[in-house]
């Protein structure tokens, strides 16, 4: 991580407790702009809980999540409701189990993502109801943006198809396209490669790199598919039992004894260790 620029997002001493269960324990993490930060860890490590705390779906028990917004200045995400995290702070997430609007078409899904801008242009629906030109222009602009992303994610042929009728890999891409329509500063992807075949995973790698390098969108990535995480991440944070156990570049993390222990279990015999994942 470059030390010169202030981090886009800084998580400090974040704690999330559900009754007796400590899902996230005193976790701190900095996320840099224009970079891909991977969050990995065994099942139940608290990765998705971390995302839920970040995006306002859970209120953290303790700690702070600060976003350094280029226009709005410092924002405390832990105090914002979920829709404001997306709307005002422009931190947008996808879901581990895809959450599209299945009966609506792909294009409509992407239009819903631009609701706030359009709703504003429609002046509480009055301008829209009478079809005033200001609203028509806003609608045209929103549609162009949606179509632009659909073209770039190779989904344009399916624009008029109900999202729920499409195959799984495509639905994953639609969810990313929809999140991109919210104009994210930080895009939080929860296992975007789950269920994808190797070719689709490779395409996802390219897309993520492109978004970070060329679009300047910071990406926070939860992923189990090591071929994706190790390949695209600039920085990786490893969680286990809600605690951060390691952090660093992909190579550093792969060699970290704590990480190997977390993934492969305690080494009490004299067996050779096999780091389970290689890019």
């Amino acid at each position: 991580m470059s030390a010169a620029t202030a981090p886009l997002l800084s998580v400090e001493r974040l704690t999330m407790r559900f009754g007796g269960l400590l899902a996230i324990d005193d976790m701190s993490l900095d996320v840099a702009g224009r970079q891909i930060t991977g969050v990995i860890g065994p099942n139940g490590a608290g990765k998705t809980t971390f995302f839920n705390c970040l995006t306002g779906f859970y209120k953290p028990t303790d700690g702070s999540v600060r976003l350094n917004h280029p226009q709005r200045g410092l924002m405390r995400l832990e105090a914002l409701p979920s829709h404001q995290v997306a709307h005002k702070a422009q931190v947008v997430r996808t879901f581990q189990n895809i959450r599209l609007f299945p009966k609506m078409t792909v294009l409509e899904n992407l239009m819903v993502a631009q609701h706030n801008a359009l709703q504003h242009a429609s002046r509480f629906s009055l301008a829209g109801l009478f079809g005033l030109s200001g609203y028509r222009q806003a609608e045209k602009k929103a549609m162009d943006k949606a179509i632009g992303w659909l073209k770039r994610l190779d989904l344009i042929d399916k624009a008029n198809t109900a999202a729920g009728d499409l195959p799984y890999g495509m639905q994953r891409r639609i969810e990313i396209a929809r999140a991109l329509c919210v104009d994210p500063l930080l895009l939080c992807l929860d296992e975007p490669a789950a269920g994808l075949n190797p070719r689709e995973s490779a395409e996802l790698n390219e897309l993520l790199k492109h978004l970070a390098r060329d679009e300047g969108i910071a990406i926070l990535l939860i992923e189990h598919d090591m071929s994706v995480v190790m390949n695209v991440s600039d920085h990786i944070c490893v969680l286990n039992y809600g605690r951060k156990i390691a952090e660093g570049s992909p190579t550093q993390v792969q060699q970290d004894p704590n990480v190997i222990k977390a993934y492969l279990g305690e080494d009490d015999a004299d067996e050779q260790l096999h780091p389970e994942a290689r890019p």
């Binding site: 306002g56 829709h83 005002k88 009966k103 359009l118 629906s125 109801l129 549609m143 008029n160 009728d165």
Partner: protein, 439 residues
């Protein structure tokens, strides 16, 4: 397989007409003894009278119904086939889209035909008060169905107490009209705003509730309003209700027997006849219903309408897209309630008398049944379902105590045959066309 799809599509209009004509003929054969002839009590003696217009309407309904039915079955089969064709292959989705696109003009055509029939109905039945009255009742339910469609069909909020807003609208006009001398047109917007306020009052505490839990609360809300109307005698007249509510006027011209002020009949130099008022009321509710339809159809294509549907599909995803779920839900409740309130004002003006008995749970249930049977979110489906649910008990009057049985059986049949409602198909709010133009 493509040929198969073509085959089901290629049923010629002539074949469909022949099929419908056969059904209409059977309906005629059955209808002559059952509907065409009736017994009347004349001075103690039973005599047989004829009811040819009713019979004609019945046969025409059978003919039109069969056409629609046949078309719906074909569409359903074609779509099912297209679906099966490729459970995984992506081509399926396009085929479905194609078959839907092919089905669109016909549905539009049915809609325009229904409008034509609705507009010309009083011309053919000008002296048949029963037909025009029944059609007015159908239209009230159509309007209520379109209003509830916003809440249930689009926003996916199961509301079992919709009749409360109908009652709020009716009582607002009843009180304003009798106590403060307000006219129909003055009271209409106020009653709509009043009902919308009640929609928000109901919506606010139920924001976090979904599905069954929401249904229970809304059910309770409907009952609370009714119980208040029964017990708050000073305001609502209690169980006695409110009587002599002013009738609506035609741009200030009253529809009543000639008196001091110019009336509708005297102004236009017509002979006064009581059927003028009946027909005026019919056209009034038709206009209100059509305005409701245009309003709801347009709202659906606006950001707020898409947000309603998105909320029905996945509330959590909506929040993740930055949509304020509270505002979206409250707007759905408020607008649905407002439309119900308008219908209530019309009801009060038409009847001239309202009492809590008109606003029982069974009304809510019928309106909800109209929305569900019609196909959630479908505007034309609401019309078809209203026809079925209002006309069936009317036609079944001859069967006396069996008519509720008939009613129930019809509902069960529709649900078995089309679980998504009569018209379950959803029309996208916008389309991408390859050259980037919006169609």
């Amino acid at each position: 397989m493509a040929t198969l799809v073509l085959a089901t599509h290629s049923i010629s209009p002539a074949a469909r007409f022949k099929d419908a004509a056969t059904v209409a003929f059977i309906a005629l054969l059955l209808g002559i003894p059952m509907i065409g002839l009736t017994t009347v009590d004349q001075g103690g003696a039973l005599r047989i009278a004829t009811r040819w217009p009713t019979l004609f309407a019945f046969v025409a309904a059978a003919f039109a119904g069969r056409l629609v039915l046949r078309y719906a079955i074909d569409q359903f089969k074609a779509r099912k086939l297209a679906h099966e064709r490729s459970a995984a292959a992506t081509a399926a989705a396009d085929a479905v889209a194609d078959s839907r696109r092919a089905g669109r003009p016909l549905l539009t055509w049915v809609g325009w035909a229904a409008l034509g029939v609705a507009l010309s109905l009083p011309v053919f039945f000008a002296d048949n008060r029963y037909v025009v009255d029944t059609a007015t009742t159908v239209l009230i339910y159509v309007m209520l169905g379109w209003g509830l469609n916003v809440v249930v069909g689009l926003a996916g909020l199961l509301d079992l107490g919709y009749v409360a807003f109908y009652a709020v609208g009716a009582y607002t006009y009843g009180i304003l009209g009798t106590q403060f001398g307000w006219g129909f047109w003055q009271a209409l917007p106020v009653a709509g705003a009043m009902a919308a306020t009640f929609g928000i009052i109901l919506g606010w505490p139920t924001l976090r509730l979904r599905g069954d839990y929401l249904a229970i609360v809304t059910l309770g809300f409907g009952e609370i309003i009714r119980v208040i109307l029964v017990n708050w005698t000073e305001l609502s007249g209690g169980p006695n209700g409110i009587a002599s509510i002013p009738r609506p006027s035609f741009f200030g011209l009253e529809l009543k027997p000639p008196g001091d002020d110019p009336t509708f009949a005297s102004f236009f130099g017509l002979e006064y006849s009581p059927s003028q008022r009946i027909i005026f009321l019919y056209y009034l509710i038709l206009a209100l219903a059509l305005i409701t339809n245009v309003f709801v159809s347009r709202m659906r294509k606006l950001p707020i309408g898409r947000a309603w549907e998105a909320m029905r599909e996945d509330e959590i995803a909506c929040k993740a897209m930055g949509i304020n779920a509270r505002n979206v839900k409250l707007s759905a409740f408020a607008i649905g309630a407002m439309l119900g309130g308008f219908a209530g004002v019309f009801f009060a003006a038409r009847m001239g008398f309202i009492s809590p008995e008109s606003f029982t749970f069974s009304e809510s249930a019928i309106i909800l049944a109209i929305v569900v049977l019609g196909g959630m979110g479908s505007q034309l489906g609401v019309v078809l379902a209203s026809l079925v649910l209002v006309l069936l008990p009317e036609l079944g009057r001859d069967f006396a105590e069996y008519r509720m049985l008939l009613f129930g059986a019809a509902m069960v049949l529709i649900m078995v045959w089309k679980p998504g409602g009569i018209l379950a198909h959803r029309e996208p709010t916008m389309r991408y066309v390859a050259d980037g133009e919006k169609r």
